[in-house]
């Protein structure tokens, strides 16, 4: 293909206009400003429209990438969004938070010699255009099957299951423990990366398609899964997330000023602590902040701390730069916003004052030794290298374990030794008849799009069950 249309490669990949780092690091508005229609059409024209598109193979939910891009190239932006909706209920979310460099864009043939098509930017563009200018026509759902499905958890996997099953004509009720739907999309990912208005709009689209959403309902506490079946549901999908933060079990870890990333981000995003006292939930505004861990959640925490007025924000990580698990773009954005990376460093204890408030922490320098089970070189402490970092706020972002609240109330669902639900890797089927699971509660903490991929697989399997049998 490339040989027949060589001139297309010459158009440079679109550059996303962004808020200036020095300005954006003190506000909560979205960092990327979005492509203009002209930029989007030009970028879309770079797509080679491959006969066997590799990009689609790289997408966990098999978005019809060449087709939607072709519609953008033809300036049919609404058509492009409808094409996205055929396989993805959350395009405005995915266009923002997917690691495209490892997925669709990572496979794009243009990337072999130059820069891949900016598929993520185009997805975001189409979905945003439709939200602002569209005629508010939600996807058309299939003829009613009369079957009812309970979706437990309204995060990315639950919303995907809901969207897919609605399209197939099933009735869907989504149960959410918090007062707002969206799961990690509302409590976890910050406003500046994913505006909450966008999540609300994607959820509203599902509601227009017929989804019922019951917030403030903790399945496992007020109602069990068996009771849902008694109430007439024909199948259930569990997508409750990981949801039990890990701490490091270090001396002083319960001092005031030490937060789990979950708490820090929930207070800020869901409870809108950054708007205190207009909103009632307070959030500590640290001057000297340390974030422990180096994943995407750690970057979200560090950039949030900067926006809450920190003088300095350090990311302390025990391995080296190459092993930092966050997306390259997140690391880049963080560095642009004056976040400092303190690498090969591991905390050993925290210090506080007589009121139990954090004043500092002790760290050890590390060096890289032999590779460990993960294939990464194991960090080994350098003896006698202890040093102190003064800080008044620490965010612990070293991952999550499986939350047992729902699984404890459902004893007939098989768990692995970490408490995660055992789900069939291809279908998400659990050991309990009529119950599927997917996302972080099965895999442990992962990405939005992987959870959506699991939701897609489960929705197909649930549909087979409802129409053909277990």
């Amino acid at each position: 293909m490339a040989d027949t249309k060589p001139k297309k490669i010459k158009i440079p990949r679109a550059k996303m206009p962004e808020q200036d780092p020095d300005i954006r690091k003190r506000n909560f508005e979205e960092v990327p400003l979005g492509l203009t229609p002209e930029m989007a059409v030009l970028e879309a024209s770079r797509c080679l429209q491959c006969k066997t598109p590799l990009c689609v193979q790289g997408c966990p939910v098999s978005v019809k990438i060449p087709e939607f891009i072709k519609l953008i190239a033809e300036s049919d932006f609404s058509g492009a969004t409808k094409k996205l909706w055929e396989t993805n209920a959350l395009p405005a979310v995915c266009g923002r938070v997917c690691p495209q460099e490892d997925q669709c864009e990572g496979k794009c043939i243009l990337g072999k010699k130059g820069a891949p098509v900016a598929i993520g930017y185009l997805e975001k563009f189409a979905a945003d255009w439709e939200r602002k200018n569209g005629k508010d026509e939600p996807p058309v759902v299939g003829e009613s099957t009369g079957k009812r499905v309970a979706v437990i958890g309204s995060g990315p996997s639950g919303l995907t299951v809901a969207g897919d099953l609605l399209l197939k004509g099933h009735e869907v009720t989504i149960f959410e423990a918090f007062h707002k739907p969206g799961g990690v999309l509302v409590y976890g990912i910050p406003e500046f990366r994913l505006p909450k208005e966008i999540v609300a709009s994607e959820v509203a689209t599902l509601e227009k398609m017929g989804a019922k959403i019951e917030c403030n309902t903790v399945i496992g506490a007020s109602t069990t899964i068996d009771e849902l079946f008694e109430e007439g549901f024909n199948a259930a999908y569990i997508g409750v997330g990981a949801g039990l933060p890990r701490f490091m079990n270090l001396p002083g870890e319960n001092l005031i000023g030490i937060y789990s990333a979950n708490e820090y981000l929930t207070r800020t995003n869901l409870m809108k602590g950054y708007l205190f006292p207009k909103y009632d939930t307070p959030i500590a505004r640290g001057k000297n902040v340390v974030v422990l861990g180096a994943g995407n959640v750690a970057m979200d925490s560090a950039r949030t701390a900067m926006r809450l007025g920190a003088k300095s924000v350090k990311v302390v990580y025990r391995r080296s730069r190459d092993e930092m698990p966050a997306r390259a773009e997140e690391l880049h954005h963080a560095e642009q916003e004056s976040i400092e990376f303190v690498l090969l460093t591991n905390p050993t204890q925290f210090f506080g004052d007589e009121n139990g408030r954090l004043t500092g922490m002790e760290c050890l320098k590390m060096e890289l030794g032999e590779p460990d089970a993960s294939g990464r070189r194991r960090p080994v402490p350098v003896e006698g290298s202890e040093f102190r970092i003064d800080c008044d706020l620490v965010v612990v972002s070293v991952g999550s374990n499986a939350n047992p609240l729902l699984t404890n109330s459902t004893p007939d669902i098989a768990l692995n030794r970490w408490g995660n639900i055992v789900g069939d890797p291809d279908t998400g089927k659990t050991s309990k008849r009529g119950v599927w699971a997917g996302g972080d509660i099965v895999t442990g903490a992962a990405t939005v799009i992987l959870a959506m991929g699991a939701g897609r697989a489960a929705a197909n399997s649930i549909h087979d069950y409802l129409t053909l049998g277990w």
Binding site: N216, V218, I256, M271, P277, D280
Partner: protein, 277 residues
Amino acid sequence: MAKIVNRKEMAQGTIILNEIEAPRISRKAKPGQFVILQADETGERIPLTMADTNPDKGTITIIYMVVGKSTARFKELKIGDEFYALIGPLGKPTHIEKVGKVVCVGGGTGIAVLHPITRALKEAGNDVTTILGSRSYDLLIMEEQMRAASTQLHICTDDGSHGHHGFVTDVLKEVLEKNDIKLVVAIGPIPMMKFCSLITKEKNVKTYVSLNPIMVDGTGMCGCCRVTVGNKTKFACVDGPEFDGHAVDFDELAKRLASYLDDERESLDAFNKCKAL
């Protein structure tokens, strides 16, 4: 949903009772469990242990002291108004069994939390001595309900306006001396629970306390409510709220409860100013 069907002011308007429509929660709730309430979209999520449930009516009862902005806002809600959010039942229920002679000690709004536990212990066949304390007799709540739920009842007031002139710990000591007590349940202000636990530890009598740390989600997701029990970190929302009083680090809990004192003051001042306008 979450509509207030009954409301009462107690202790000269400093303590409020709300009976709230919550059919699912009322059917499932057991003594010792809590709910999380939010008055409006901008509000804070407040954990409150249930004082009673009525599965037939489909209601739960909460009793809270007005201390800050959130509870001041709760106080404004009238019969017929709805809470913006209500979830539960959360936390582990109290372990109720027949052990023989039991003492229940309550102070402040802790008495409300103690009420269903006391009743359940008595219904399980225990001989229940209840000791209630308050600063002054006119601030004491639920005397009659607690009398009905107990085998015998003692009242203590700091100012001597009724019953024993002094602290609940004085009477607790006496009861422990004279009886073969198998279990003590102490629920109230942190100093009360701390000193009750110190006394019962000397006598080696098993003691439950119910903790009220700051929470956000209440389902184990955030770790805000972590408490040190037996040198281990526990989440009060999923591992508690009830713990072995002999193992709890009460001083740490008291400090953590003061995490946001300045913010809470700012929030309450703004609220009062707003109301005055």
